[in-house]
């Protein structure tokens, strides 16, 4: 039996934007720019790459931060410039856009499975608590798949993650928070 996976509206919109853009080649090129904190995710996978435009000889790339104080944004800006320079573009502007605010919904489906394979539980691997925040237990362990886990800290190695530990395999793991 074939299974048809449902794609979130926002993800569909992003894909359409990417495929319809006259600079599709540039979007493809930027797939090589990885998030410095989670090096298996590209900036496309993470949803922080918002737009790529061409204005004459100039390339304007728009990105949005995951969290206000995300220290990776400077590195990402440099990496984008470097990737485009290497492909022969020398006039690059990287703009930061704050609105709409980044949402974990924007992460691509591939990004979610890459994250899991990397040992980080993606946002949908936990049900939110009644306040709509990270719950204190039961995020799925990316190592053994158990739901018998507990939250160790609200904030993990970076602002976008919480720290959990699995009660079955005992491994600690990061959970990418839903915001």
């Amino acid at each position: 039996m074939n299974e048809i996976s449902l794609m979130p509206e926002e993800q569909y919109r992003r894909l359409q934007q990417r495929n319809a853009a006259e600079v599709k080649g540039l979007w493809d090129l930027l797939d090589q720019v990885m998030d410095p904190e989670v090096p298996v995710l590209s900036i496309w996978d993470l949803g922080i790459l918002r737009d790529v435009e061409r204005d004459g000889d100039r390339i304007v790339v728009t990105i949005t931060p995951t969290y206000s104080g995300c220290p990776a944004m400077n590195t990402i800006t440099e990496d984008i410039t470097e990737a485009l320079n290497a492909a022969g573009y020398d006039q690059i502007e990287v703009k930061t856009s704050l609105s709409p605010a980044w949402s974990s919904e924007w992460m691509s489906p591939e990004g979610r499975s890459k994250l899991r394979n990397y040992g980080i539980a993606p946002p949908e691997d936990a049900d939110l608590d009644e306040d709509g925040l990270t719950p204190d237990a039961h995020a799925q362990c990316p190592h053994c798949g158990s739901r018998n886990t507990r939250r160790v800290s609200e904030f993990g190695s970076t602002a976008c993650k919480a720290l959990f530990q699995c009660n079955d395999c005992n491994e600690p793991f990061d959970y990418f928070k839903k915001i």
Partner: protein, 254 residues
């Protein structure tokens, strides 16, 4: 945008940036001194959120000022008298209970204030609010849990937490003051009329303090002055430390 509104928006944006950078810096002073590793990391993350907010406000302030200054000039090249942050944010970190009580007061303040700023007719301010609201939910849950745990904890932790509540209470009135600049912006639908938020703040804070077996102080005294640049002696010391590298090596990049 009329000149008067533009000037007021610059002043307002700078004030919001000052609140964020000063509180963010105070929180960062806990890094490597947290009671345990996870808490150390958590509080460091909260500091980063505030410093990120400050960067967004200052970047916008620099854009409005349009006089060649950058976000760094706002943070590092102004003296204490030029800072316009609320006094609550600049108080030294004290003991852990003191910092958590201050954090609770600030987190509830942003919980009631940011949804109003989200309605701002100024798109940039509204966008910053949209970003910050999501983070504040996590901050409040954390500070609320700490205040509960400390207030309803041991005799010693209860005593220290109550002492912090009493010591900081007088600094919270200023959070809800309006002046001409803020009134002008509130009337224009750009700024928040914080005077209308005092009762909502008081209600939320009182509930949490009561749950934590702590007394809600009477309004016996109030200190004001941050918005006009009259600070406690503590801000100058904090800025000295925060600004020394930038002032010693102006324009240095690495």
């Amino acid at each position: 945008m009329s000149d008067a509104i533009k000037a007021a928006t610059l002043e307002y944006t700078t004030r919001l940036g000052d609140d964020s950078v000063v509180l963010g810096h105070r929180i960062s002073e806990w890094v490597s001194y947290g009671p345990f590793l996870e808490e150390d990391i958590a509080y460091g993350n909260v500091a980063l959120d505030y410093i990120g907010r400050a960067r967004m406000f200052y970047t916008y302030a620099a854009e409005l000022a349009n006089d060649g200054r950058t976000e760094d000039d706002f943070a590092y090249m102004r003296s204490d008298r030029e800072y316009r942050n609320l006094l609550l944010m600049e108080m030294p970190k004290g003991d852990f209970a003191y910092s958590q009580v201050r954090q609770l007061f600030a987190d509830v303040y942003y919980t009631v204030m940011l949804p109003e700023l989200l309605q701002s007719k100024d798109e940039t301010l509204a966008a910053i609010a949209a970003k910050a609201i999501k983070e504040t939910k996590y901050h409040l849950r954390r500070s609320r849990e700490w205040v509960m745990r400390l207030g309803d904890g041991t005799e010693e932790s209860h005593k220290r937490t109550q002492k912090a509540v009493d010591a900081l209470w007088g600094y919270t009135h200023e959070l809800f003051d309006m002046d001409e600049t803020e009134q002008l912006l509130a009337d224009a639908g750009i700024g928040v009329d914080v005077s209308k938020l005092h009762s909502a703040w008081h209600k939320q804070v009182s509930e949490i303090l009561t749950d934590a077996t702590l007394n809600v102080p009477d309004d016996g005294w109030a200190v004001r002055g941050g918005r006009t640049g009259y600070h406690t002696e503590h801000l100058g010391h904090m800025l000295t430390e925060m600004q020394i590298v930038h002032r010693s090596y102006p324009g240095c990049q690495w």
